[in-house]
Symmetry: C2
Subunit: 354 residues, 2 copies
């Protein structure tokens, strides 16, 4: 990111948005131009990540600083960016979830996975293989997770690994197709055109609101959301809170995770608002640590859910179901550990004892 | 316990052993005399507990202070006390394990069990029902765990609860019969006769060893065993150490639990040696807290093993196996929590910062 330092808060918003829009366009160009060899595939993956990153920051900025921006323009762009982020993040999320679950199965079996490329690259959009149907082919199942397969696992863990690999690779393949379709759609081109305009011209309202005040409001909303978290419980190690209702209804974990995911979202808004004001990445390591803890919370909760979901596959062997139960509980422990980590960072920040 | 205060360390050993022997005989008498009504059953349970307690202390004292005691006499009595303790503790252990597992299943299902009598009383030995076969009948399965049944549990958890209840009630019933048989055996009567003599006459060698020195040696052995524990890892919450190899071979948890169980045993020897020297219960709360943490370690590890064992029952439903997997991981998590608790107590003790 090459955002110039800004002198006043008033200039900060347009400078930041122009910078992120430029980054969005640069990533998109890199993604389209990436070659089909191994190095090009790596570049394509990195470009897709940078694209999501810029889209996330533009969307968050439109939200936090909305009184300063053309409301009609923002009302059109914001949901489109949300759609884009959601669509582009699914493939990566499925791949990361599978890696997390297979790593956990290996850890639980005492057989560390052979290190290898965890995430196969996303073929570049717009690359048209000769005689193809217009879309690059997704990686075949099984080719994805080299080194994290089922070798060395006990029967139940191996079967659980194979089942998860099948289900999450299928989900990933679908997400891949959806992402490629999205990147080739007229809907996406309309978003890209809007961002291209934003890179040179930010539609400000000229309202008198102080950006610092708006950033402070985002921080206050974060503080309010943190205040309702059960931090007292979270700060007590091994409170077994995250696994409560682990065998209850499917929706039970979602209900207890929701306030944490809300804080994760508001912490991002706070972080990006700080970036706007400062003109560079947020330098507060505690914000980054807290954000990392909540990212782990998010990923472990989704992985636990994937294990529970796989266990409901009809006609699986009891040994497979048992391994998936152990795996589910293990990932819910990671959720609890992430809450503890967040509490440690946050209490230290608030108490100023660190 | 009504052990008299002692003036010197030399008198302490015979006073303590006579006191524990008297307690052993008193408990045995109470156990035999307990009536068949509800109050009598409660008394019988309490008497059995006191009997195990005294047997444990006499056995430990024979070990720690062996240079001061007639070696031939001690060599005969010690294994007999170990046999008695092992035999008498099994029924209680099975019942406590079932209670722990059913409570955990309710917690994991978000349906707290209705409080009720957890452990049904052990019918008194020597009570001969008219027309019976000479042994009191064990409680019928299902009558044991009122209030901790499967109501309110989801299908998998309910089936897991029913399976565990069946298996552990069977084990308990067998342990009950074995204990009654033991208490009526000539082998037991020989032990009781030896203890009756001990209550008035302790076979000392007159050796010059200082009891304080022997107690210090027990403490040093404890310190050596603690030194090989992975306390650095244990002090880091959510290290996931106890669940490592949770899906590996059956023997894997035993191997990592062994050094902790050894410390539990040596901590008891230390505690009872302190009782001998002081003439009263060990007043150090940290020894009691550390001992409690290791008791939880022991119980949770055995419960986790019982859940894993139940999951290997042929032809169980996948939902049952899944619930048992979650339960196994939950109990291994309790093992890890117990290690953390022990580390906290022990480091504070050593550092003297508490």
């Amino acid at each position: 990111m090459t955002v110039a330092m800004t002198g006043t808060a008033d200039e900060a918003l347009p400078v930041y948005l122009r910078g992120q829009a430029t980054e969005f366009l640069r990533s998109l160009r890199l993604h389209r131009e990436s070659t089909t060899d191994a190095r090009g595939a790596e570049e394509s993956l990195e470009a897709a990540r940078a694209l999501r990153r810029a889209a996330r920051r533009i969307g968050a900025t439109l939200h936090t600083f909305r009184p300063l921006l053309d409301p009609e323009w923002a009302a059109v762009l914001r949901p489109e960016l949300a759609w884009l982020r959601g669509t582009l993040s699914q493939e990566h999320a499925c791949a990361a979830r599978l890696t997390r679950l297979l790593d956990a199965l290996h850890r639980l079996s005492g057989t560390p996975p052979v290190p290898g490329p965890a995430l196969a690259p996303l073929p570049a959009a717009g690359r048209r293989p000769a005689g193809g149907n217009g879309w690059a082919q997704p990686a075949p199942p099984g080719a994805v997770e080299t080194g994290r397969g089922s070798s060395g696992l006990t029967v139940g863990a191996a079967k659980a690994a194979a089942l998860l690999e099948r289900q999450l690779t299928l989900a990933r393949t679908r997400a891949h197709s959806t992402a490629l379709q999205a990147l080739g759609s007229s809907r996406f081109h309309a978003v890209a055109d809007t961002i291209a305009v934003l890179a040179s011209e930010v539609p400000l309202t000229g309202a008198a609101d102080d950006p610092k005040h708006l950033a402070a409001r985002a921080e206050a909303e974060l503080a309010d959301a943190v205040a309702v978290l059960p931090l007292g419980q979270a700060g007590h190690p091994y409170n077994a809170g995250a696994l409560t209702h682990g065998l209850a209804s499917e929706a039970a974990p979602d209900a207890q995770d929701a306030p944490w995911l809300k804080v994760r979202s508001l912490l991002r808004l706070h972080r990006y608002a700080q970036e706007v004001l400062l003109g560079h990445a947020c330098p507060d390591p505690r914000v980054l640590e807290a954000g990392h803890a909540l990212d782990v919370h998010h990923e472990a909760a989704a992985a636990a859910q994937a294990a529970a979901h796989a266990a409901r596959t009809p006609r699986i062997a009891p040994a497979t179901a048992y391994a998936l139960g152990v795996l589910h509980a293990d990932q819910r422990h990671e959720v609890e550990a992430a809450r503890f980590a967040f509490q440690q960072v946050w209490q230290h920040e608030t108490a100023g004892t660190r």
